[in-house]
C-alpha cells in the first residue's frame, strides 16, 4: 500500500484489530507472563560471539547500517542494548559505526544506558559510536576500514541494508569475525546467508530483542504480532477461496476482500 495518504475504512478496521490484539497480549503478559518463545539459533549465537571476543580480546562491532529513526531502529536498539551490556560486563571494546546522524544520538543514549545497567557507566566511551558518512558507499568503505583496523572478533549487522550489505559482511569475513546479520530487506538476505555465520530473516529481527531480554512488554508484542499475522493469513485464505469460487461460479455475487481494503469512505457513505 505504498503512497497511501489516507486510510480506507477497511485498513482502519485492520489497524484497530491489531491494536486490540496488542493490548490484550500486553495485559496477559503483565498478569500471567506465560508466553513461550521458540529457540532462534541466530540470537543464541549473539552470546557465543561476544564470549569468543572475550577469549580472543578482540572488539565487538554493531551496525544498524542504513536504518533511520523508526520501528526497525528501535528493534535493533533492543539487541544493541543487550550486546552493549554484555560487552560492558566482559570489559570488551565496542564499536558502533553510524550512517544516520539522527539515529546516532539515540544509539549513543542506548549504549550509555546499557553500560550503566551493567554497572560500568564510567567505562562508556562516546567515541565508540562513530559517525562515518551519510553516503552509502562512503559508509561502506569507512566500515571496512574500521573492521580491518580494529580486527573485530564479532560483527552484528542489524537493520536496513541495500547494496552495501555484501561489502560490510565481507569485511567481517576477511578479518575472521563471527557474524550475525538480521535484515528486513529480503533482497539482502541471500548475501548475508552466504557471508555470515547466522542470519535472522525479516521479523526475527523484531523477535531478537524480546528473545534476549524476555521482558514482558516485548514478549507480549511478539505474541501479538504472531496473532495479527494469523489474522492476515486467514484473510489471504478467505480471499483466495472467494476469488476461486467467484471464478468457478460467475453467476454468484461474492464479497471481495480487495474491495474491503480499497473501498473509500465516499464509497461506503
Amino acid at each position: 500500500m505504498g503512497g497511501l495518504e489516507h486510510a480506507t475504512p477497511g485498513i482502519l478496521l485492520t489497524i484497530a484489530c491489531a491494536a486490540v490484539i496488542l493490548f490484550v497480549q500486553l495485559r496477559r503478559a503483565t498478569r500471567r507472563g506465560d508466553h513461550f518463545i521458540r529457540r532462534i539459533a541466530g540470537v543464541d549465537a549473539v552470546e557465543g560471539a561476544i564470549g569468543r571476543c572475550a577469549e580472543m580480546g578482540r572488539p565487538v562491532a554493531f551496525t544498524t547500517a542504513l536504518t533511520d529513526v523508526g520501528p526497525v531502529l528501535y528493534a535493533c536498539l533492543g539487541v544493541l542494548h543487550s550486546v552493549a551490556k554484555r560487552v560492558a560486563q566482559y570489559k570488551l571494546k565496542l564499536v558502533v559505526p553510524q550512517y544516520s546522524p539522527e539515529a546516532m544520538a539515540i544509539v549513543e543514549d542506548s549504549v550509555r544506558d546499557a553500560y550503566n545497567d551493567a554497572g560500568r557507566g564510567a567505562a562508556f566511551d562516546p567515541q565508540s559510536i562513530v559517525f562515518l558518512s551519510s553516503e552509502q558507499f562512503a559508509f561502506a568503505s569507512g566500515y571496512m576500514g574500521l573492521i580491518h583496523r580494529e580486527k573485530a572478533g564479532a560483527a552484528f549487522l542489524f537493520g536496513v541494508f541495500a547494496a552495501e550489505a555484501l561489502v560490510l559482511a565481507e569485511a567481517g569475513q576477511q578479518v575472521g569475525a563471527r557474524q550475525v546479520a538480521a535484515s528486513v530487506s529480503p533482497e539482502q538476505v541471500a548475501f548475508f546467508i552466504c557471508t555470515c555465520d547466522y542470519t535472522l530473516i525479516g521479523e526475527e529481527l523484531f523477535a531478537a530483542s524480546a528473545y534476549l531480554s524476555r521482558e514482558p512488554v516485548q514478549v507480549a508484542t511478539l505474541a501479538a504480532q504472531d496473532r495479527v499475522k494469523l489474522l492476515f493469513a486467514a484473510i489471504i485464505v478467505v480471499g483466495v477461496l472467494l476469488a476461486t469460487l467467484g471464478a468457478l461460479a460467475p453467476g454468484i455475487t461474492l464479497p471481495s476482500i480487495e474491495r474491503f481494503f480499497t473501498a473509500s469512505w465516499s464509497d461506503l457513505l
Binding site: 489516507h6 486510510a7 482502519l12 489497524i15 491489531a18 496488542l22 523508526g70 520501528p71 526497525v72 528501535y74 528493534a75 536498539l77 533492543g78 544493541l80 542494548h81 553510524q98 544516520s100 546522524p101 539522527e102 546516532m104 544520538a105 543514549d109 542506548s110 544506558d113 550503566n116 545497567d117 567515541q127 559510536i129 562513530v130 559517525f131 552509502q136 558507499f137 568503505s141 576500514g145 547494496a163 552495501e164 555484501l166 561489502v167 565481507e170 528486513v184 529480503p186 538476505v189 548475501f191 552466504c194 557471508t195 525479516g202 521479523e203 523484531f206 530483542s209 531480554s213 521482558e215 512488554v217 508484542t221 504480532q225 495479527v228 499475522k229 492476515f232 473509500s264 469512505w265 465516499s266
Partner: protein
C-alpha cells in the same frame, strides 16, 4: 497492592516525560491525518498545513547532520591531537571534509550570484505579466503607461549592463554567447512596442506588446543563466568542485560499488559448496536463474528462461512477500508501542 512510601518511589524523569509527550502528540497528528478521509482533512484545514508540518520534521532531521559533523570532528580531532594509532587516516579524513566543505560553500555562493543575475532578467518577464494581470483584473495600480515606461527603463538598463559587461571579448563569440546576444536583441527589439500601451485600459496591441516583452525577458533569463554557468565553469572554484566531487568522490563510490562484483564471486564460492540439502537446492536454483538469464541457457534448453521466470515469480515472490508481511506487521506493532510509549526498559533503562 500497598503504595510505596514516598522515599521509596522512583524520581519522576521529566526528560522522559517530555519525550513521551512529544512522541504522543506527533503520533496523534500523523494518525489523525492518516485515518481522516481526504475531504474531512481538507475541510478541517489539515491538508493545507500538512506540507509545512512535514517540512518542519525534515528540518529537524537536517539539524541532526550537525551532530554527525560534531562527532566526526571530535573523534578524529582528538585522535590527531593525541597522536593515537591511525592519526594519519583521521588527518586525511578531516582535510578531505573541510576541503569539500569549503569548496562546496564557495561553489554554492558562486551559483547564488548566477541565480541573482538571471533573476534580474526574469523580473522583466514577471513585471510584464503582472501589468497584464492587474489591468485585466482592474486591480488598484499606477497608470498602465507609467508602469510600461518603468518596465522599459528597467529593461533598457539591464540590456546596457549586459552589453557592456558580458557581450564583449571572446566569450561573447561562443554558442551560448551568441544565444545571449540574440535573446538580448529580441528583448531590445520588443521594447519600443511598449509605447503602444495606453494610459487607461489595456488594448489588444498593448497586451500583445507586454506579452512579447514578457516572453523575451524569460528567454533572456534562461540564456543569461546558461552563459554565466559556462563562464563560471572555468573559475578555480568550479574546477576544484568538479575535481573533488566528480573526479574523486563519485569515482571512489563507483570503485566501492565495483568491489561488489568481486565479493559476489567470493561469497558465491562459499555458499555454493554443496554440503546440505538446502545448499544443493540453492545451487540448483541459482544455476537455473543464471543460465535462464543468458543466451547460453537458451542453447542448452528452451525451457530454462521459462523456469527462471517461474522461480523468480512464484517461489521467490512468495518468500519475499512473506518476509515483508512479517516485518511490516512487526513494525506496526512496534510503532503502536512506541507511539504510546509502552516501554519497560527494552533499550533504555531511563524508560522504565
Amino acid at each position: 497492592m500497598e503504595r510505596p512510601a514516598v522515599s521509596e518511589r522512583q524520581p519522576i524523569d521529566r526528560r522522559a516525560q517530555v519525550i513521551r509527550a512529544f512522541t504522543l502528540l506527533g503520533g496523534v497528528y500523523f494518525f489523525l491525518y492518516f485515518i481522516l478521509p481526504e475531504t474531512a482533512a481538507e475541510s478541517l484545514g489539515i491538508k493545507a498545513r500538512h506540507e509545512a508540518i512535514s517540512n518542519g520534521f525534515i528540518v529537524i532531521g537536517a539539524m541532526a547532520v550537525g551532530l554527525g559533523l560534531f562527532n566526526l570532528v571530535s573523534a578524529h580531532g582528538s585522535r590527531i591531537a593525541f597522536a593515537r594509532k591511525g592519526w594519519a587516516y583521521s588527518l586525511a579524513l578531516l582535510v578531505g571534509l573541510f576541503s569539500m566543505l569549503a569548496v562546496t560553500a564557495a561553489q554554492w555562493r558562486q551559483s547564488l550570484g548566477i541565480t541573482a543575475e538571471a533573476r534580474k532578467a526574469q523580473i522583466v518577464g514577471e513585471f510584464a505579466q503582472r501589468i497584464v494581470q492587474d489591468a485585466e483584473s482592474h486591480a488598484a495600480a499606477p497608470a498602465l503607461a507609467v508602469r510600461a515606461a518603468a518596465l522599459r527603463a528597467y529593461a533598457d538598463g539591464l540590456l546596457d549592463q549586459i552589453g557592456a559587461t558580458l557581450l564583449v571579448g571572446p566569450p561573447a563569440e561562443t554558442p551560448l554567447g551568441i544565444e545571449l546576444r540574440a535573446a538580448a536583441a529580441s528583448l531590445r527589439g520588443s521594447l519600443p512596442r511598449l509605447e503602444a500601451v495606453p494610459g487607461e485600459s489595456l488594448s489588444p496591441e498593448g497586451k500583445g506588446a507586454l506579452t512579447d516583452v514578457g516572453r523575451a525577458g524569460e528567454l533572456l533569463s534562461a540564456a543569461l543563466g546558461a552563459f554565466l554557468r559556462q563562464e563560471s565553469s572555468s573559475t578555480m572554484v568550479q574546477q576544484l568542485y568538479t575535481l573533488l566531487y566528480e573526479g574523486l568522490f563519485n569515482q571512489l563510490g563507483s570503485a566501492m560499488f565495483a568491489l561488489l562484483g568481486v565479493y559476489i564471486a567470493a561469497a558465491a564460492f562459499r555458499a555454493f559448496r554443496i554440503r546440505t540439502v538446502e545448499s544443493a537446492l540453492m545451487m540448483a536454483a541459482a544455476l537455473i536463474v543464471m543460465l535462464g538469464q543468458i543466451s547460453l541457457g537458451q542453447l542448452i534448453s528452451d525451457e530454462l528462461p521459462a523456469m527462471r521466470q517461474w522461480l523468480l515469480e512464484v517461489p521467490n515472490s512468495a518468500a519475499f512477500r512473506a518476509i515483508r508481511l512479517g516485518a511490516s506487521v512487526a513494525a506496526l506493532m512496534l510503532a503502536i508501542r512506541m507511539w504510546l510509549s509502552i516501554e519497560s526498559g527494552s533499550f533504555s533503562s531511563r524508560k522504565r
